[in-house]
């Protein structure tokens, strides 16, 4: 390759998809910020491409959630590509499990400089002189469960060869779409694998070939914490890629935990929450923050927390203080996992019913299989409810936590009543 090459690698835009895990209604200015967040991140990518003068933007699938059929998402996506087109920047797009080809509205016109890969493997030149070649393939429909990498084979005169693919490398927790392995990726002779699907960014291999997940561009879930963005890739004359992360998300998800064992008064609790929240906002690189705080441990404030309305009051305390700022911090929820201030080990020894209960809980915790069966049976009426069960798919509360929570409720009642 005679000239250096620069491109932006993005994936999993999930344009116009809502934030998940939020049960409380946010104030309008925050709600609108969250609603716009995926678009702002996308606009940020387009701005970045133009500012950095890259040759191309590569998007490795899941542009939007086709289940939503969001026209807005599709139209604004194309608007961004139009901006690139006007600036003479090429774009390459492949589609994944969330935005398979059959999920796109017909009759939308993509700009000329945008290459959308079809359901068969395709190759397209990058740059006016064909400095690089981009190979790619799109999911024709949602379920593609076979390895697509054998279709990728670089040719001698490709220049720098890039593979654009929405796929699952190795065994991860993610639903296994187009599963493949580092070995199968390496066999293709591709120089840079621009992958998508996994929401947390990861460089699986730096070069020969580079295997890169940029992660999603905007965290939309309590588990998707921290900065989210894209990789700016500079390929030098020796075909060596320098991979640089650039955040584009405007709102960050953060979680924090506070142990109440040392908090003696309610004011201690409030102060501790305020400190944690301020800390999160301070370290957010000028991004707004949506946070969830988890209270753990045993302590005197457990009883305070058990009072109806306490958690909401604490949340308001933080939000009144920080949600009106710019950038804002909005505490979405405070989760109470605290327990009463007792010596559990000692109480467990008592030869009585409560002692029996505690001993039995410990036995269950030690036998996950039994525990799972126990929980499944107990929660069946709701979790197997014909209308409700679909909403619990993917909602797997930690079993140990559930039992611990139940135990706290038992203790609270049995001890209180006693």
């Amino acid at each position: 390759m005679s000239e250096t090459l620069r491109f932006v690698h993005a994936a999993d835009l999930h344009l116009d998809s809502p934030f998940q895990g939020i049960k409380n209604t946010a104030p309008e200015h925050i709600a609108s910020e969250l609603r716009e967040a995926t678009f702002r991140a996308y606009d940020g990518i387009i701005d970045l491409c133009i500012e950095r003068g890259v040759q191309a933007l590569l998007i490795a699938g899941d542009v939007f959630d086709s289940a939503d059929r969001s026209l807005n998402a599709q139209l604004r996506f194309i608007q961004g590509l139009e901006r690139l087109h006007v600036s003479g920047i090429q774009s390459f797009v492949c589609h994944g499990n969330h935005d398979p080809m059959d999920g796109w509205t017909a009759r939308l016109a993509f700009p000329e400089s945008c290459h959308r890969f079809g359901p068969e493997i395709g190759a397209a030149p990058l740059g006016p002189d064909g400095q690089a070649t981009v190979y790619g393939i799109s999911y024709p429909q949602r379920n593609v469960v076979h390895d697509l990498t054998p279709d990728f084979q670089r040719r001698a005169n490709d220049g720098f060869a890039i593979g654009l693919l929405h796929a699952n490398v190795g065994l991860t927790a993610h639903e296994s779409y187009a599963p493949c392995s580092l070995e199968s990726l390496t066999r293709t002779g591709i120089d840079y694998w621009a992958l998508g699907h996994v929401h947390n960014r990861a460089i699986l291999n730096r070069s020969n070939p580079a295997v890169v997940y940029p992660g999603n561009t905007q965290g939309r879930h309590p588990n998707e914490t921290g900065a989210r963005g894209v990789y700016v890739v500079d390929v030098d004359t020796n075909d060596h890629p320098a991979i640089d992360f650039v955040p584009v998300s405007t709102v960050r998800w953060e979680t924090a935990g506070i142990c109440i064992s040392e908090l003696h008064t309610e004011q201690d609790l409030i102060d501790s929450l305020a400190n944690v929240a301020e800390g999160l906002l301070h370290n957010s690189d000028r991004c707004s923050v949506v946070c969830r705080v988890e209270l753990t441990g045993r302590g005197p404030q457990h009883t305070t927390l058990r009072r109806d309305g306490t958690l909401d009051a604490l949340r308001s305390e933080i939000n009144n203080h920080l949600s009106a700022r710019s950038p804002f911090l909005w505490c979405e929820r405070i989760v109470d996992r605290t327990g009463p201030e007792i010596d559990r080990a000692e109480r467990r020894q008592a030869e009585d019913f409560l002692g029996d209960v505690l001993k039995m809980i410990d036995e269950l915790q030690a036998d996950p299989e039994e525990r799972a069966e126990f929980i499944q049976t107990a929660l069946g009426p709701l979790y197997s409810h014909s209308r409700a069960r679909q909403y619990f798919e993917g909602h797997d509360p930690d079993a140990a936590g559930l039992l611990a929570n139940a135990e706290n409720r038992i203790l609270a009642r049995m001890l209180e009543i006693a």
Partner: protein, 782 residues
């Protein structure tokens, strides 16, 4: 644990009372009503577990004075002594535990002594009166077993806890319920789902709307094309119709032209040219005739003057000849004199003498000639003057040059000159002779005379000659004119011939006939041209006209109008259709724009996520309550399974003893909440089916079971009962007393009764029983 002594400082009507030592394992307190049995039971409970609230049924004030409270002396399993002292105060009153060696221990030690049993456990299992025994009956139903087992476990709060957990869970979700948060949220999610389905349908609609818009645009442009075609056709048809009259004319003229004889070619402006030529010829002939007349006249007039003119001419001729003769005579004279002079000059030279005489002679002679000429007049005058002048000049010359000529050359020269002059003179004489001969005269004088006569003749014939000459000149002019006119006429005639040739006619008459035919044809052709021009103005030349002509040949004017009408109808239809399409396009575009700009789906999705999260949070909350319930239930079942056999076995053994073998066993089905008793014949009875006494005996037996179980596992607490045998028949009362005696082997038994029969039953069952008589004012230890 055993109670050894009760020291009541102030409790009810007891004040400063000591009861004890209670050394036996079985103690019966006997006394009449109001002796204080129930008060003592309350005292024991208050000291061991704390004073109850003042509102509690067991609250007993210190009616007889003394400090409200007191002490109980105990000994444990190993006979170590303790004194538990408690007085009324906050939190049930402060307790002090003093060991026999005087050391103090806290409430913890007391709790240990009590096997961590709560007041409730103690009240329900170990220390009870008839009320408590009967109140168990009211706990039939779902709570019975848990109450019993709970009592046995020391937490009869289980049913309440279960109830509350169930209530809280039910407040969130209840299978079949409608008003809880979960079904409410489900309903809301489903509503939003419906709205989102609509939005998704919108997206699908979008694609079809885009397609529809494209179709509408295509349809619209197709109709516009059609309109254009129809308009073109319409214009064309209008042209045809407008051309129709011309076309008909064209056809007629063409037919007429076809019928007209052919005149190949005809000179342009033939008739006028013919007429012009004819009139030219006529004019020329008229002129010729007139000129000829004038010519004849002039000729005749000239003839009349001819003789006079001839005379005049002759006279002139003669005069001329006469004048010639006269001149000739002069020249003879001059030349004679010159010759004479020269001869004389030669003679002079011969004398070497120059003489001016000759010059003078010449001068005089010249002068004389001049005078002579003047005298003669006319030509002679001129000759005379000329000769005179010449002689005079020669004379003068000679006078001036005479001196220069000298010598011999001069002489020779002079001689040649004299000879030449002589020769000249001779020629002149001859010439004169010829003139005279011609004139027929002989003498020179006659010449002069003739001259006069001729002059007179000339004078008389001069006018005639002039007239003659005038007529001749006139005739000459007329001849010239005549020739011109004749030439003109010939020219015109020639042209006329040519014109006739051009008109292919032999004579003007034929020429005129042909001209008329030609003009008619011309007129037709001109009309044809005009018509054709108009038609071609419509069609264009050449190919266009060819096509139009073809079309006109085949067209039917009626059909043309029909088609025009059809086109106009179709055009107005299309106009309507286009308006409709335009309207549809507008509404489709607006709908597309609305769909493109619709962001409400994002809000709906966010709302849906929020509702689902709320649903999940509620589910987690519900799960907490339900799991707590399930855990308690599971623990209880296990408790029932693992601990029931011992409790039940002990209980049914006691029941069998008490009832004298009427009921042989107790059954607690695992899934049922009810206890059943079984008779030897296998018949089963539920507690509510038993008589009051039998039911109390069942509950008592069950308590015995729990007491045994608790004592075995935890601590052997004293069993304190308050007149519980009242509903028992004597036989069962005795049997019951035996059962208590059996229990007293492990647990201290304290019986309060006001019935002497009860005392007797215990005495009969256990002769060594310690009986304490209670008086209303004081207890007496027997």
């Amino acid at each position: 644990m055993r109670i050894e002594r009760l020291s009541v400082d102030g409790f009810g009507h007891f004040s400063g009372h000591e009861l004890g030592p209670l050394d036996g394992r079985l103690v019966v307190f006997h006394g009449p009503n109001e002796a204080g049995k129930t008060t003592l039971l309350a005292f024991i409970q208050a000291i061991l577990f704390g004073f109850p609230r003042k509102t509690d049924a067991l609250w007993v004030p210190a009616l007889a004075g003394g400090r409200h409270g007191g002490r109980i002396a105990l000994c444990d399993e190993f006979c170590a002594g303790y004194v538990v002292e408690r007085y009324q105060g906050t939190h049930g009153g402060p307790v002090a535990v003093t060991l026999s060696d005087g050391t103090q221990a806290g409430a913890g030690r007391l709790s240990e002594l009590l096997g961590h049993a709560s007041r409730d456990v103690f009240e329900n299992v170990f220390a009870f009166g008839l009320d408590q025994l009967q109140s168990l009956a009211s706990l039939q139903g779902p709570d019975v077993s848990s109450h019993i087992y709970g009592a046995g476990a020391g937490t009869e709060s289980l049913p309440r806890a279960l109830k509350e957990l169930e209530k809280r869970a039910g407040e969130i979700f209840l299978p079949g319920g409608r008003n809880q948060p979960v079904p409410r949220l489900l309903g809301e999610v489903e509503t939003v789902n419906g709205q989102l389905d609509q939005k998704r349908a919108d997206a699908a609609t979008y694609a079809s709307l885009r397609q529809a818009l494209a179709n509408l645009e295509e349809g619209s442009s197709r109709l516009q094309d059609q309109t254009q075609e129809l308009n073109a056709r319409r214009a064309h048809l209008h042209r045809l119709r407008n051309a129709w009259d011309d076309w008909v004319t064209l056809r007629q003229e063409e037919d007429r032209l076809y019928e007209l004889p052919l005149v190949d070619s005809f000179p342009e402006d033939g008739i006028s040219r013919l007429q012009s030529l004819e009139s030219q010829i006529q004019l020329a002939e008229r002129e010729i005739r007139r000129i000829e007349g004038r010519l004849d006249e002039a000729r005749q007039s000239a003839e009349g003057e001819h003789s006079g003119a001839a005379r005049y001419q002759e006279a002139l001729l003669r005069r001329q000849m006469l004048q010639h003769a006269r001149e000739s005579w002069t020249r003879v004279e001059v030349s004679g004199r010159t010759a004479e002079t020269e001869r004389l000059g030669l003679a002079d030279l011969d004398q070497q003498h120059d003489s001016p005489v000759l010059a003078l002679v010449l001068l005089v002679a010249g002068f004389a000639f001049a005078v002579t000429g003047m005298v003669i007049g006319g030509g002679a005058l001129l000759v005379g003057i000329g000769a005179g002048a010449m002689l005079a000049v020669v004379g003068l010359y000679l006078l001036s040059s005479g001196r220069q000529l000298s010598g011999r050359p001069r002489r020779e020269e002079q001689r040649r000159r004299a000879e030449a002059a002589e020769a000249l003179h001779q020629r002149e004489r001859q010439q004169l002779q010829r003139w005279l001969q011609q004139l027929g005269v002989f003498e020179f004088d006659d010449v002069l005379l003739s001259l006069d006569a001729v002059e007179r003749d000339i004078e008389s014939a001069r006018d005639a000659d002039e007239r003659h000459r005038g007529y001749l000149e006139q005739a000459e002019r007329e001849e010239r004119q005549l020739a011109e006119r004749q030439s003109e006429r010939s020219e015109a005639q020639l042209q006329l011939e040519q014109l006739l040739d051009l008109g292919d006619a032999v004579d003007p008459e034929e020429f005129r006939r042909r001209a008329a035919r030609h003009a008619e044809r011309e007129a037709v052709e001109q009309r044809l041209r005009g018509t054709l021009e108009r038609l071609q103005r419509v069609s264009g030349p050449d190919e266009g006209w060819r096509r139009l002509r073809q079309e006109l040949e085949s067209v039917d004017p009626v059909g043309l109008d029909d088609e025009l009408l059809a086109i106009d109808t179709r055009l107005s239809e299309i106009e309507g259709e286009l308006a409709e399409l335009h309207h549809e396009r507008g509404s489709t575009s607006r709908e597309l724009q609305r769909l493109e700009g619709d962001t409400s789906a994002a809000d709906l999705r966010a709302k849906r996520q929020r509702l689902i999260e709320d649903l999940r949070t509620h589910a987690d909350d519900w799960s907490g309550y339900v799991l707590a319930q399930a855990l308690l239930d599971r623990a209880r079942k296990r408790y029932e399974q693992e601990r029931q056999p011992a409790v039940i076995q002990t209980a049914q053994r006691h029941l069998e003893t008490i009832t004298g073998g009427r009921y042989t066993s107790i059954v607690v089905p695992l899934d049922a909440k009810e206890i059943e008793v079984v008779q030897p014949n296998g018949a089963r009875k539920r507690p509510q089916d038993l008589s009051r006494g039998a039911r109390e005996q069942l509950y008592l037996a069950l308590r015995f079971g729990f007491i045994a179980e608790f004592s075995r596992k935890t601590a052997r607490l004293p069993v304190i009962v308050d007149d519980i045998l009242v509903n028992f028949d004597p036989q069962r009362a005795r049997a019951t007393a035996h059962a208590f005696v059996e229990i007293s082997e492990t647990n201290q038994v304290i019986v309060f009764t006001c019935h002497p029969s009860t005392v007797e039953h215990f005495r009969a069952a256990s002769p060594g029983v310690q009986v304490v008589e209670l008086e209303p004012e004081a207890a007496v230890i027997r």
